[in-house]
Symmetry: C2
Subunit: 224 residues, 2 copies
């Protein structure tokens, strides 16, 4: 980076919500933290005048997000145009089910990041290589160096697009239910059920050489 | 329902992927199963010519999906127009991290459903009530009857939109890594790390009457 980015992302018309404004945040560290905890985003774009939302892997590297895919996939083809592809990239973590006494105040605790912008295809070989490593590392840190890197044929079949973190907001809800004062005496259980993404014990491939040990970086391995 | 729907959703240009067609499915039972396992979707729509993707709660009731929100929220206002709001509603479950020997064949196991269509505001009071119950039930089955239903003021503040299941596809990946034959002898661990959404022990609200027991329908309760 040529210079340190400012502390927060400047709010814009698109990133200031019309409701629950107190849940919106623009803090760069918070945004990075939410993005870094995930690896699957929902990428929105417009095709033939209609919205499309597809789940896909992503990675953050500094103030850039990367998404990859087949060179034949629709959003990646769209990003190849000189003016790029307008996208909205959203990452969401569900942290809890919030059970209020009233149906109306039921909610979920969550943390999400919404990024608006124009995605462009990455053509520079060094940046493409960095992005592909980053996408593997985002899901399983430590894995990129412990696998065979893409060869020329695989690289040619892979498109990478970049979305800069410029117009960005986080939104989150935390804490317990917010019941109306007159509901406090109602006879319903109230509280939060925590929700988390967890990892099971790794399942070796059928053809794995049994002399190869379970890598220390794997999520879900016993004792981790 | 006036008549039984056909077994599968008819594929359209929008629901046949350009790549990995073998991963797409149109079976109604499979689509319902994927939708019923979730409660947070990513809703895409167009605002001022640009795509927007927001996480939100949803429910399925037969061949309809419901989403609710404040009457002031942007997508719900858009759905109020006579011609409705073009949306894409996507639900994704991540089931595993797929670690191949080659970086190129890294993937995730997942199940997703993508619904394209026009969302309309629900104004019929009976259908609104059904939809609001369904949204609570989708996340915590058994909860709608064990909470205070919305009163007239709360109902007036809540908008409900409906999206019919007409143009729908599921997409999924299952199984182990698909390495190239020439990579089988490489010295890298290969297999799948299972991923799941799990629930922690319910946390009662500070002001909960301690004589109210933990309901039997709660996820995460001990012994469930």
């Amino acid at each position: 980076m040529a210079s340190a980015p400012p502390v927060g992302y400047p709010p814009t018309d698109r990133t200031v919500p019309t409701r629950s404004r107190e849940r919106a945040a623009y803090d760069r560290e918070m945004v990075h933290g939410i993005l870094d905890e995930g690896y699957v985003c929902h990428l929105g774009f417009i095709r033939d005048g209609a919205p499309v939302v597809l789940p896909t892997l992503y990675a953050r590297s500094g103030e850039r997000l990367y998404v990859h895919g087949s060179t034949g996939s629709r959003p990646l083809r769209g990003a190849r145009a000189d003016d790029g592809l307008a996208v909205c990239l959203t990452v969401t973590h569900v942290d809890g089910l919030v059970l209020a006494r009233s149906a109306f105040h039921h909610s979920i605790n969550y943390r999400s990041v919404v990024v608006h912008g124009i995605a462009h295809e990455v053509t520079d070989p060094a940046e493409r290589s960095l992005a592909l490593d980053a996408i593997v590392e985002q899901a399983v840190p430590g894995r990129a160096a412990d696998s065979r890197r893409a060869d020329a044929k695989e690289l040619a079949a892979t498109a990478v697009i970049r979305l800069d973190l410029l117009e960005v907001s986080a939104k989150l809800r935390t804490g317990g239910p917010n019941d109306e004062p007159e509901d406090i005496s109602l006879p319903y259980w109230t509280g939060v059920v925590p929700v988390a993404r967890t990892y099971g014990a790794p399942i070796p491939a059928d053809d794995l050489d049994p002399s190869i040990p379970l890598p220390g970086y794997l999520p879900g391995r016993p004792g981790k």
